[in-house]
């Protein structure tokens, strides 16, 4: 069988030699290992003061993006809800009325858009599925609550506020850029 | 000193009586332990520190631990009262009475000991005991040690599975 690590030892119940039976050499060896660790650098991150650096593509709380003019990108196509393995997304679509063009980019929009954060497994499939680049996962952490109800995030939380845009450029990897510059999908921009 | 003597004696006698009269085996053992500790106190009053400490180590610390150990293992914490026949009771009383007489006779002699062997405050210390044990009482001492060894060997024989 292939060894998984170079430290694996084949177990056997052979009779111990005298040196093994008096334990002392083994104990000293163990003690030398622990004392070495005693002086090693500690791996702890003191949380509130220090924070662990997140990966650029960390998958945390979602955001529903607006476009450059501040219009909601989501068109309530439901692809994210279909893609979601945890069935965390629900939405109700509505038609854009004349005069609302500055609010919604497409003719159809999500009147209600909810993600149940207790169901969500933060897989990011919704982000991949979205044809309108409307939903993204961010490096924000979903806050804890005392009840279940507040975990169903509505549009009030999910849609980014006008004055507090969420920067997701860091997660736009080269693959995403390629996708964006593809002529066939130009309508998405 | 006199006050301590009476205090310790009272504790000892009360505990000894409780050993006899209390129903729960665990309590019996604990009263016996208290009795032994009070006895060690008496030794200290006689300036026999060595005896006192050895008494605590051997009797309180080892033998009574074994007592307690066995009682715990056997789960004897419920009071068991076995009815004995009248013959057994009478013979028990007679035997106990005779033993008491013997003890009384032995204690009567101790009133004369004081005159023969005046109290020596060094007698209970390590060097005193050691010197007496290894000169005057060497033979009984060694013989009793052989007795212990034979007891230990016997216990080991019992302990062996295929004796």
């Amino acid at each position: 069988m292939q060894k998984l690590t170079n430290r694996s030892v084949v177990a056997s119940d052979k009779k111990m030699t005298f040196m093994e039976r008096i334990y002392v050499p083994a104990i000293l060896k163990g003690m030398s290992i622990t004392i070495k660790h005693f002086f090693k650098k500690k791996t702890t991150i003191n949380y509130p003061e220090e924070k662990r650096e997140f990966s650029k593509v960390y998958r945390g709380q979602h955001v529903l993006k607006r476009d450059d003019e501040g219009r909601e990108r989501c068109t309530a196509c439901g692809l994210c809800a279909v893609a979601c393995p945890a069935e965390a997304i629900t939405m109700v679509a509505a038609e854009r009325k004349p005069g609302e063009e500055h609010l919604y980019r497409e003719e159809k929009y999500a009147a209600i858009y909810e993600i149940n954060m207790l169901r969500c497994i933060f897989c990011g499939d919704c982000e991949d599925a979205c044809p309108k680049e409307a939903i993204f996962l961010t490096d924000r952490i979903v806050a804890s609550e005392y009840k279940r109800k507040p975990f169903v995030y509505g549009k009030d939380i999910l849609v980014e506020p006008m004055d507090l845009r969420v920067d997701i450029s860091a997660r736009q990897t080269s693959a995403v850029h390629d996708f964006k510059s593809n002529k066939a999908f130009a309508h998405n921009r | 000193m006199i006050f301590l003597f009476y205090l310790l004696s009272t504790i000892m006698i009360v505990c000894a009586l409780l050993v006899v009269f209390s129903k729960n085996p665990i309590n019996n053992v604990i009263y016996l332990i208290m009795c032994f500790i009070a006895m060690a106190g008496h030794y200290i009053l006689l300036n026999a520190q060595f005896l006192a400490v050895v008494h605590i180590i051997v009797y309180t610390g080892a033998i009574m631990v074994l007592f307690l150990f066995v009682i715990m293992l056997l789960n004897l914490n419920k009071a068991i009262i076995i009815r004995k026949s009248t013959v057994t009771r009478v013979s028990a009383v007679v035997t106990g009475g005779i033993f008491f007489l013997v003890l009384l006779a032995a204690t009567r002699q101790t009133f004369e000991i004081d005159a023969k062997y005046p109290f020596n405050s060094e007698i209970g210390l390590v060097s005193g005991i050691g010197k007496t044990l290894f000169s005057e009482f060497l033979l009984p001492f060694e013989i009793s040690s052989i007795l212990f060894i034979s007891a230990m060997v016997g216990a080991m024989m019992f302990g062996k599975k295929d004796a």
Partner: protein
């Protein structure tokens, strides 16, 4: 006794108790720190600077917890258990010579509560009574795990007490005295007993681990098999007493080891410095505490290195390993002194 001596002794007694308790308290902190450091963690560092107030916080927590006495437990014995454990742990401190003599206003005071001429045996007696705390508490809980822990504690204590006693006998052969004061005085300079009794020290050290129920001998309270062992049913400050008694025991055993084998308050080359006798006493005392802390660290170091022994391994080591070794040690020491004294 003069009045000044009595006053001095009373104050000294309080100081000993205080120091013992404070050291035990901070041993809990040190234990967690040492454990953390050996596992590449930081350990407690929130309560106060470097987490130094952690023991106080722990103690406060213990006090605030609900006191639970199980319905089926034997109430008196249930309370008696931790009290015995704590009392015997603290009682041992009185015979340990914490320092040499102190001269105040022409009076000479000894920094030892009581110089019994059977000092070692007294320590030994206290240890052997200490097991009652565990046994009675474990039995009174009326819980099978507690009972198993208690039984383990008793058998372990008895087994290792023998070897410990025998290693002391060999030591007494070299010192010729049972008084701790004399033993320390003899080790003046660099004549530490460890050089004369290395094997005896080794045996004594192992037995000290066993007697204090520290890992790798912590079978009486082994969490993986017996929940909490003898203190399974205990809560609040009574549990605190048990845990605390363990640390007091550790401190006292370290002190005893340092006294018996490492020269107590003796510091090499102190005489050459030409200091006043009081200064020498204080430096010696400091040096004694350094030795004690070194041993406490050793206790912790071993605890966080070794896994627990299996029960049969424990018994085998005690009866088939240490006792024959100790007997051999006695014989060897005896033979040596027999032939050297002939000349």
């Amino acid at each position: 006794m003069e009045l000044t001596t009595i006053i001095f002794k009373t104050i000294f007694l309080f100081i000993i108790l205080l120091v013992t308790l404070v050291v035990a308290m901070y041993s809990t902190y040190a234990e967690r720190k040492v454990a953390a450091f050996m596992q590449d963690r930081n350990g407690p560092n929130r309560a106060g600077p470097f987490g130094l107030l952690q023991p106080l916080a722990d103690g406060l927590k213990m006090f605030m917890k609900e006191e639970i006495i199980p319905l089926t437990a034997n109430k008196y014995l249930f309370i008696l258990g931790p009290s015995i454990a704590m009392t015997t742990a603290l009682l041992t401190g009185v015979v340990i010579p914490w320092g040499d003599t102190l001269t105040i206003n022409g009076h000479v005071y000894s920094l030892q509560m009581a110089d019994l001429n059977i000092g070692i045996l007294y320590v030994f007696a206290m240890v052997s009574i200490g097991v009652y705390g565990i046994m009675i508490g474990g039995w009174a809980s009326n819980n099978k795990y507690a009972l198993l822990g208690a039984i383990r504690a008793a058998s372990q204590m008895i087994s290792y007490e023998l070897a410990m006693g025998m290693s002391i006998i060999a030591l007494v052969l070299t010192t010729g005295s049972l008084s701790l004061h004399d033993i320390v005085a003899q080790q003046h300079g660099m004549h530490w007993n460890i050089f004369y009794q290395p094997l005896g020290f080794f045996i004594f050290l192992i037995c000290a681990f066993a007697e204090t129920n520290r890992a790798p001998f912590d079978l009486p309270e082994c969490e993986t098999e017996l929940i909490g062992g003898y203190h399974t049913e205990y809560s609040s400050m009574k549990l605190g007493f048990y845990l605390f008694a363990e640390y007091v025991n550790m401190f006292i055993s370290s002190a005893v080891i340092a006294t018996l084998y490492f020269g107590g308050y003796n510091m090499p080359f102190i005489d050459q410095l030409g200091l006043s006798s009081n200064a020498v006493t204080f430096i010696g005392m400091g040096f004694f505490f350094i030795k004690i802390f070194a041993f406490i660290f050793l206790f912790m170091w071993i605890r966080w290195t070794l896994p627990r022994f299996r029960y049969d391994q424990l018994m085998n080591m005690g009866w088939k390993g240490l006792i024959p070794l100790a007997i051999f040690n006695i014989l060897a020491t005896g033979t040596y002194y027999f032939f050297t004294s002939l000349k």
